[in-house]
Symmetry: C2
Subunit: 800 residues, 2 copies
């Protein structure tokens, strides 16, 4: 292989970069090991060593090597670049580099650029009350923690969309490269416009090992690697070796080639020609030893270039004098005097290697997206309202109405290019297709004449991978933009763990004043459990909200709008929030509409409320029973149950409570939206039976309300894990969430109904049987159930 760059970098330049790299490596080792004696002014003693050695050395020197070279290329070409560190456990490297470039001390002024600051820098790492071991929110320049591996490259693409001048360098470790999400992420290049988006420069870092094994890609031949990435649509460039004297010029030259290539691709796409073929974007494959520059052997066992270098390569310097001297030898091998002045400051000629100001990767505002965030322009959601003259008299498809609102959100922010909708091939299927009046789906592959709504530029991103949708959106939000992800309810579980990690990121970010708030991550979960009757059991799972409810109350909100106007209000609301995760669960099928826009606004604002027009109670006295409902289908079934009961038991005083904002059920002490006990008791009574029709697993309601006075009175109907391919009404019957089961439960729980109770229950049971017989004979629900709507005559109470 030709030795690129030997003529390109002078020997002096090579030596300077090498010294910068050694400084970063020294600081990385110092963070892992040292409590004291940060500049090794005296011989290393065991009491200079931390009692618990925590941190990951193996990946770090490679990350530092890349950082140093990116600094060079940023300066040389005045690049706007951020660094996504896939092996985020190489936190010591990210901290070391942002310290060397000065960002760290600006963000954390007590970590000064001198010996005292160095001491603190070392001590705080992985130390109680200090900083985490990963490239966490605490790390300047990071939008990616990487603790759970797999999402580096999707985050990088999310950051690059609509940022035409940005280059996102993304280091992918060969461990991470084995994960599913990462393996799919390489195809993201089919969704990146060279004209409108920035560039992603992937650096696949093959150091050959993970915790205790070689890596799959680390042991693949260059030939297979070349084929694989060519097949993924990249032009791979190899940087391989272990001799720094050879590796520095090779890396410098390769980065030049890669940046040249990016610039050429962008120039050709941006020079006015309408269409270009999907380009082969460059990527770098860097093979370097794991634990590079660290100890070759410890206790006679291979360490450098092997998995034993993964975490702490010398394990017992406090207890083993040989280990101590090996550590000292290692640390001194970086020649501190050649790096820092006597006060502990980085030598000026090395300082000069880092970019300045916002060009430093630790200070690039894209990595603190709240700094760049502009509010979305939102149309008045009232303009999209469905006219609901009285409850239940109108039909509407909630998500279709939401789609019209989103269409105009896209229109109003078209110029700002700061809003995207992601979904796994389901935007139209979820009936948000009004958005296609004003935009298209992004598609960089070939487009056929008969294709519809595909273009190289668009606001909608669809790929059959929830991981990619979620990861792109996270990257997009964390760099200061806005968005929404729509998904089949059951399959959002695919990204449970990504949701977890994003929630953790937000929780920690909120404690860091220098991290500015970013737009919330908004989910629309539709095609939900009650209307997946055509796809069957595998598509029926409402459990994502159980996971969500485990997270810190500050971070999460869960909404179950019962109809279109409530969904409109909530959509508008969530798009205004920040640093949260909002989950909206709403159906797409034609259903009765309950609330006028004004009533919807009042109801959503409270999050929960009594629907007087729906109940039969007198004002001024307590009801006999409360029928609570949360979710669109449970609300419909509750309405129908009230209708049955009105006819069967005249005089029965039913109160109907509808819950839009699930967290209102929690105690106020646990969630800011929670009702206080007095309001809760006022609504649910302290002792009357509550028949609660819930969209999801019944246990979630119990878990939210267990400390309420009337908890023992709560009888929750919801998904009981009974599903199949059948009709919509048969689905609710299978899970006893239907109107008849609800009405029967009321009859059974309300005391004093006397001997008529048995007859009424039998009447309802007969109806159930009649329906079941009908549906199995005809393959569809009985018309009077399918087409049921809330009778006009029961809406006299409506005030509007």
């Amino acid at each position: 292989m030709p030795r690129y760059g030997e003529a390109f970098l002078s020997t002096d330049e090579v030596q300077l970069i090498d010294r910068y790299w050694r400084a970063a490596n020294y600081l990385s080792v110092g963070q892992i090991y040292l409590l004291d004696n940060a500049l090794l002014r005296e011989p290393l003693r065991k009491d200079h060593i931390k009692p618990r050695l925590l941190g990951h050395w193996g990946t770090t020197p490679g990350l530092n090597f890349i950082y140093a070279h990116l600094n060079r290329v940023i300066k040389a070409h005045d690049l706007d670049m951020i660094y996504i560190c896939g092996p985020g456990h190489g936190g010591p490297g990210m901290v070391a580099n942002t310290y060397l470039e000065g960002t760290y001390s600006e963000v954390y002024p007590d970590i000064t650029q001198d010996e005292d600051g160095l001491q603190k820098l070392f001590r705080q790492f992985s130390f109680p009350g200090g900083i985490p071991s990963h490239a966490a929110p605490e790390t300047p320049g990071s939008i990616h923690e990487g603790g759970e591996l797999g999402y580096a490259l999707v985050h990088a693409y999310g950051a690059a969309f609509d940022n035409p001048d940005l280059i996102v360098t993304c280091v992918v470790g060969d461990g991470e490269a084995e994960t599913g999400p990462l393996a799919a992420s390489w195809h993201s290049n089919k969704f990146l416009s060279p004209k409108h988006d920035g560039a992603v420069l992937p650096i696949l870092h093959l150091n050959g090992y993970k915790i205790a094994n070689p890596t799959v890609m680390g042991r693949m031949s260059d030939d297979e690697i070349r084929h694989l990435f060519h097949g993924y649509g990249h032009e791979p460039m190899f940087v391989e070796g272990s001799d720094p004297a050879m590796m520095h010029p090779l890396m410098a030259h390769t980065l030049e080639r890669a940046i040249d290539r990016i610039r050429a691709i962008q120039a050709s796409a941006r020079d006015g020609r309408a269409t270009v073929d999907r380009p082969k974007w460059p990527m770098i494959v860097m093979r370097s030893p794991k634990g590079w520059t660290g100890p070759k052997e410890v206790d006679g066992l291979k360490v450098e270039g092997f998995w034993r270098a993964h975490q702490v390569p010398i394990v017992n310097p406090r207890g083993n004098p040989e280990h101590l001297s090996l550590l000292e030898e290692w640390m001194r091998s970086y020649r501190i005097d050649d790096l820092f002045d006597n006060a502990g400051g980085l030598l000026p000629e090395l300082q000069a290697l880092a970019p300045q100001g916002r060009r430093r990767m630790g200070a690039n505002p894209h990595a603190n997206g709240g700094l760049l965030k502009h509010e979305l322009k939102l149309p008045d959601f009232r303009d999209y309202a469905i006219d609901v003259p009285h409850p239940g008299g109108t039909e509407g498809e909630a998500t279709r109405v939401m789609g019209q609102f989103l269409r105009d959100v896209i229109k109003l922010n078209a110029e700002a290019r700061n809003f995207r909708i992601m979904g796994p091939d389901e935007t139209a299927s979820n009936r948000l297709d009004a958005v296609f009046d004003v935009t298209e789906r992004v598609w960089m592959e070939g487009i056929e004449p008969y294709d519809v709504h595909l273009a190289q530029d668009g606001r909608v991103m669809e790929v059959l991978s929830e991981h990619l949708c979620q990861g792109w959106l996270e990257g997009y939000l964390l760099t200061g933009r806005h968005g929404l992800m729509s998904c089949y309810e059951a399959f959002i579980h695919i990204v449970d763990s990504m949701f977890n990690q994003h929630a953790k990121w937000l929780k920690v970010s909120r404690t860091l004043p220098w991290r500015r708030p970013v737009a919330s991550l908004n989910y629309l979960l539709t095609s939900h459990v009650w209307r997946q009757d055509h796809n069957g059991f595998s598509h029926q799972d409402p459990g994502f909200v159980d996971l969500v409810a485990n997270k810190k109350a500050d971070i999460v909100r869960i909404y179950f709008p019962p109809d279109a106007n409530t969904l409109l209000w909530i959509t508008d609301h969530v798009l205004r929030t920040y640093d949260r995760i909002n989950v909206i669960v709403a159906g797409k099928q034609p259903s009765p509409q309950w609330l006028s826009m004004d009533n919807a606004a009042t109801h959503c604002d409270a999050g929960i409320g009594i629907w007087p027009w729906a109940g039969t109670e007198d004002t001024g006295s307590e009801p006999d029973v409360v029928m609570a409902c949360c979710g669109d289908v449970p609300t419909l079934e509750t309405m129908a149950a009230v209708d049955l009961l009105r006819q069967a038991v005249p005089g029965l005083k039913i109160r109907v409570v509808n819950i839009v904002d699930l967290m209102t059920l929690q105690p106020k002490t646990q969630h800011p939206h929670g009702l206080d006990d007095r309001d809760f008791d006022g609504m649910f009574t302290r002792d009357k039976p509550v028949i609660f029709a819930f969209h999801g697993y019944p246990n979630l309601i119990h878990r939210l309300t267990y400390s309420r006075a009337n908890h023992a009175g709560m009888h929750v109907h919801g998904f009981e894990e009974e599903g199949t391919t059948t009709t919509p009404f048969d689905m609710v019957v299978l899970n006893r969430l239907d109107r008849f089961h609800l009405a029967i439960d009321v009859i059974e729980r309300v005391p004093g109904l006397g001997i008529t109770a048995a007859a009424i229950k039998q009447q309802f049971r007969d109806k159930l049987l009649e329906h079941t017989t009908y549906v199995r004979a005809h393959g569809e629900d009985m018309p009077q159930i399918r087409d049921w709507s809330w009778p006009d005559r029961f809406t006299k109470h409506t005030v509007d």
Copy 2:
């Protein structure tokens, strides 16, 4: 491209296969559309059509085409083959083919091989009370539903491991190919031994479209596809076209080539040479039109060869006479008279095309793995017990002890080759490394002299992808073998959705008498939330069990062994169970041991129990307080809290209850392991305060116990989503699960402690402060806390 196979298949053979294919296509359309008139004996009328049209046509003709050709090659070479249908929503095709080959009627005798049977076959599909629309457990020959896309290929590999004579053909749709898990699955070939395992023959079916978009791979050039799969380690063979007359011979010839190649690879690996290079396994890339042979256009819009063919291509034959006649024309295009006799039976010359008996893919016993399952040979777990002369006096690492047991499980079943351990690079890190005394990690890539425990043959599979581990294990279990997956607790969320789908599969399978039970899916979750202090917040999440607890009680079990001997008992137990998912959460760190093997057996058998030696209550009277603990760290903290309280409040009557089997907390009506109310009240009292130290999120305990008499008295300490890099004890302090917070809670809840209460609480608070100060100064826990063990003097009650 040369037209392979023109000379290979005679014209007659081509025509026969084409007729078989047409029969399958006809049956597929019939299932989607027809209520009646199954053989089109009279002109199609709207009342012959189902009222709700549910099903997926688009992928089905391709699946049928492949099935017909696999039948041919199975017969030609007497192959042992199963068919994994990635696009499982092509259920009509799988049902049609198993019907044509006779399997379906054997499994479901009412679906006879005549007109009446055809009628029922059509009617039941996606019909209330009938069968699901997907290749579900109800479908003979299926081990893969495919409703949630992404897992076809991992299931295929799981099935092939240790089945040297089996060929697993796996159809991967181009929609599914976009998912993360599938993208990573292609690398599974690096873990398949040509000597000891069977073969997987992937058929990437590029029909170009998903629900409403083209597919990424469908629009990639053959050149990129060839590079990509060459890079993945395959030899791709292309079958492309839409003219059946050309496609049949091409497919037949390509399958011959692929089978030849598989046989050659296997022969070369099995002829006695010790080592072979990783072979390039063949795969087939089949490009054919979506909705092939269906209507070209409907209402003037392109359907065949476009995404509009995805589901029901002609949407309204009941309401639109043009649609009705188009449907009739389509169905008649298959020329029924050429396929079925007058009674509705498949013509004999077509029947003759299917393999016989167990060679039929619908009847292959590997796809009903319980038929092939042998019990594992298990050593006596008592032989591995830690000697615990008195509680808390011994230290042990629970998972290390489990590893010794597993080592001998591997040894005893080495010849049977029916047990594997999967894990994402964590078997050693999780301290199960005793297994490497008797086996190695499977690795088909190059092996270096300094590598350890890698071999082409082994019982341990490690790859840094939870998706692959889970999917391989599922495939392995569903084909009749046994296994265990060990995983960091936090990252098991990565496979939440796979867990969901497997639980659904088991639930339905249990209702089908012909499906024989398979071994349970066993998880060991370790490196858990309380001991991820070195990796920090991203590695701290105990919420998987919340998800598990949502599933049907028949299916799931959750165990929290507090020490090594309890873990041993449970490991032995779960390996004997079937058709379940067992979750074991256990730590790997050195910790005090509480129970002798005998006591452990008694305790685990009950699942929950009072530990009299740990409490301070008198026999015969009620305690003042119950301290409950579930999980190893909560148990330790509870023991230490009791110790503090004994000293601070002599005479306080504390009862200690330990929970191993979490489901004992649920009412007996909800879970077979649940305690009845009387036993529960006997243990937890009806009105005394219960201070409950729980491993996971506190809400889970509330949700399990909300209906118990003493629920209002339960005060649960657990993970409060507070995490970072710190020390083990600091972690529990941050979440108020530590001994001091527990003891303070006791003091606050027990009435009548008088004025001393405040002083005692202050004493505990001071201790907490002292510790926090210490840990932040020294970076490690105070020795008296770190090294605390249950004092000997308190164990006088032990009976053993």
